[in-house]
């Protein structure tokens, strides 16, 4: 089983696909839900505070806007743990939206810079592309399975 970073990190479809093929999805759907559902008055609705933007300094310099750094405080630790990644470019809002093009650029770069298997896909625009999309994700995840030292032994 590999820890697979998904981006957009809020994508339930990617998260589900990764889990179905026996890997651990590294996304933010659950952690964002937890944040939203946790009672607190600090900073609704996401319960993120200025400290989160400060934590993001590990991945982005101080001059990078706080919104990017706040997002990086969520995605950065996931990228650090990732053993593989699936990145989807130009996704539809309904697929999972991270809301900031600059964050997208940085996240994708940090993932590419890591020496891990990465599957990069364009968001499918029709049914045919959708089938191909799922097939590519499936093949990639199966490939991880066979390459996994745990499985190999």
């Amino acid at each position: 089983m590999a820890r697979v970073f998904i981006y957009p990190a809020t994508s339930l479809i990617l998260s589900d696909l990764v889990a179905r093929f026996g890997h651990k999805p590294l996304g933010t759907a659950l952690s964002v839900r937890e944040r939203i559902q946790t009672a607190g008055l600090d900073s609704p609705p996401l319960q993120m505070t200025p400290d989160d933007a400060k934590k993001g300094l590990k991945w982005a310099a101080v001059e990078v806007p706080s919104g990017v750094r706040g997002r990086m405080s969520l995605f950065g630790p996931l990228i650090d743990q990732a053993e593989a990644a699936v990145l989807v470019s130009n996704p539809d809002f309904a697929f999972g939206c991270m809301g900031c093009a600059r964050t997208d650029e940085l996240v994708e770069y940090l993932v590419r810079r890591k020496d891990i298997p990465v599957l990069e896909l364009n968001y499918p625009l029709d049914e045919e592309e959708g089938i191909l999309f799922v097939r590519k994700v499936r093949d990639f995840l199966r490939g991880l399975e066979s390459a996994s030292p745990e499985k190999a032994s």
Binding site: L57, V64, A101, R102, E105, E108, Y109
Partner: protein
């Protein structure tokens, strides 16, 4: 490479349209350097940009990325790299940071980066450009690990002027005074250092100057070496902290600006120099000491007794920082807690504003007068989660570096 023209590759987005490109040329020219834009074929630009993997939208940033890859691969030759982009541009800030890191990790090229506004002048860029050229031009000099002969270093800082006399790799005389009149202050600290060392001015075999007043004093005392404080302080720091080999990080929180320098084998690789506001400098700690009615030398021990966590203080701006200070005292917080909070606030500013811009590698060495404020050192150690090294004579770091490096001129003289 002696005094040949140093070629600095410029990777940038926006300076031409901000009206500051001429300032960059002027600063480079003032230190005998030439700024150039690496030429690449369109195919190479496309390939390098794609391979790098940072998919930015800005065309100039794409070009900067492609040029950085060419420099690292060696298809374009340069002695140093200057990375510049507009202040407040998010995409450029990401690129600047990643390029600096990439070049630092994959080559030996010294890099300096800067975010400019339309108000940036050549004067602002001068010390950075000078450091770049020094690293390129004087690599052999910077490699010096032992002080030889009888030499003196004078550091004319914004707050204080210091002099150190060294002989056979040891310090034999020191002088320290607040900077008032630049030349008069230097003359006084030189007198003190000579007196302590028990020697005459004519006995000195070589002399070096650094700091803001380096040119003026260099001319006044006929110095052999006149060098900016980024390289000199790095050298002094690793010499005194006995970490001349391998990586280290030097932090110097000064009276007017701060320096954070990533050093490898005693030679700076990347560095930042700045300080958004006096609130993030030693000046704020001086003000704090004044408001608490104590001498600056008492601030450190006082802060060590306090817990600053409950005192809200944000010295992002010295005016707001002072307001926080006054409010905290009015609310009944103890002097100890306020002193600790002030130290934490300055350390936090430096940590957030500057230390994110370089790769922190242990050992972390704190130098300069502020390194004697234990509360500040403790706060920085807590933020970096590491034991900070404060070498002996840390307040004389520039002078020691200048005395050490100027011994390279002993034989010549």
């Amino acid at each position: 490479m002696s005094n040949d023209t140093v070629r600095i590759a410029q990777l940038s987005c926006g300076p031409e349209y901000s009206g500051v490109q001429k300032e960059i040329y002027t600063a480079a020219e003032a230190v005998g350097a030439e700024v150039f834009f690496p030429d690449l074929s369109l195919a190479d630009i496309r390939r390098n940009f794609r391979d790098f993997g940072l998919d930015v939208r800005s065309g100039d940033l794409k070009l900067a990325i492609a040029r950085a890859v060419a420099l690292v691969e060696g298809s374009v030759e340069a002695d140093g790299v200057f990375i510049a982009s507009c202040f407040r541009c998010a995409e450029a800030a990401i690129v600047r940071n990643e390029l600096r890191r990439y070049i630092h990790e994959h080559s030996k090229l010294p890099v300096v980066s800067y975010s400019f506004t339309e108000r940036t002048t050549s004067g602002t860029l001068l010390t950075r450009m000078e450091a770049l050229t020094t690293i390129a031009r004087r690599r052999a000099l910077l490699a010096r690990e032992r002080q030889t002969g009888l030499t003196m270093g004078v550091d004319s800082g914004s707050s204080t002027t210091k002099a150190v006399i060294m002989q056979d790799n040891g310090i034999i005389g020191t002088g320290w005074k607040p900077t008032t009149e630049v030349i008069a202050s230097a003359d006084e600290v030189i007198r003190l250092a000579l007196e302590e060392a028990g020697i005459k001015r004519d006995d000195l075999e070589a002399v070096g100057t650094t700091g803001y007043g380096r040119f003026l004093i260099g001319e006044h005392i006929n110095a052999d070496l006149v060098q900016e404080e980024l390289t000199v302080n790095s050298k002094g720091a690793v010499f005194l902290a006995d970490c001349q080999h391998g990586p280290s990080t030097v932090i110097d929180i000064g009276g007017m600006d701060n320096k954070a320098i990533s050093v490898l084998d005693g030679i700076p690789g990347t560095f930042t120099m700045g300080g958004i506001c006096a609130g993030a400098s030693g000046r704020f700690l001086e003000m704090t000491a004044k408001r608490l009615g104590i001498d600056i030398t008492e601030l450190g021990p006082l802060a060590m007794k306090g817990m600053g966590d409950d005192v809200p203080m944000n010295s992002y701006c010295i005016v707001f920082g002072t307001q926080s200070l006054v409010n905290a005292l009015a609310e009944g917080h103890s002097k100890e807690d306020v002193a600790a909070a002030a130290c934490h606030s300055v350390a936090e500013q430096v940590f957030e504003q500057q230390l994110q811009e370089i790769d922190i590698k242990e050992p972390v060495v704190m130098v300069g007068g502020t390194s004697l404020i234990q509360g500040l050192v403790r706060a920085m150690g807590n933020l970096l989660q590491t034991e900070i090294v404060v070498p002996h004579h840390s307040q004389y770091i520039g002078s020691v570096g200048a005395a050490l490096l100027s011994s390279g001129f002993v034989e010549k003289n």
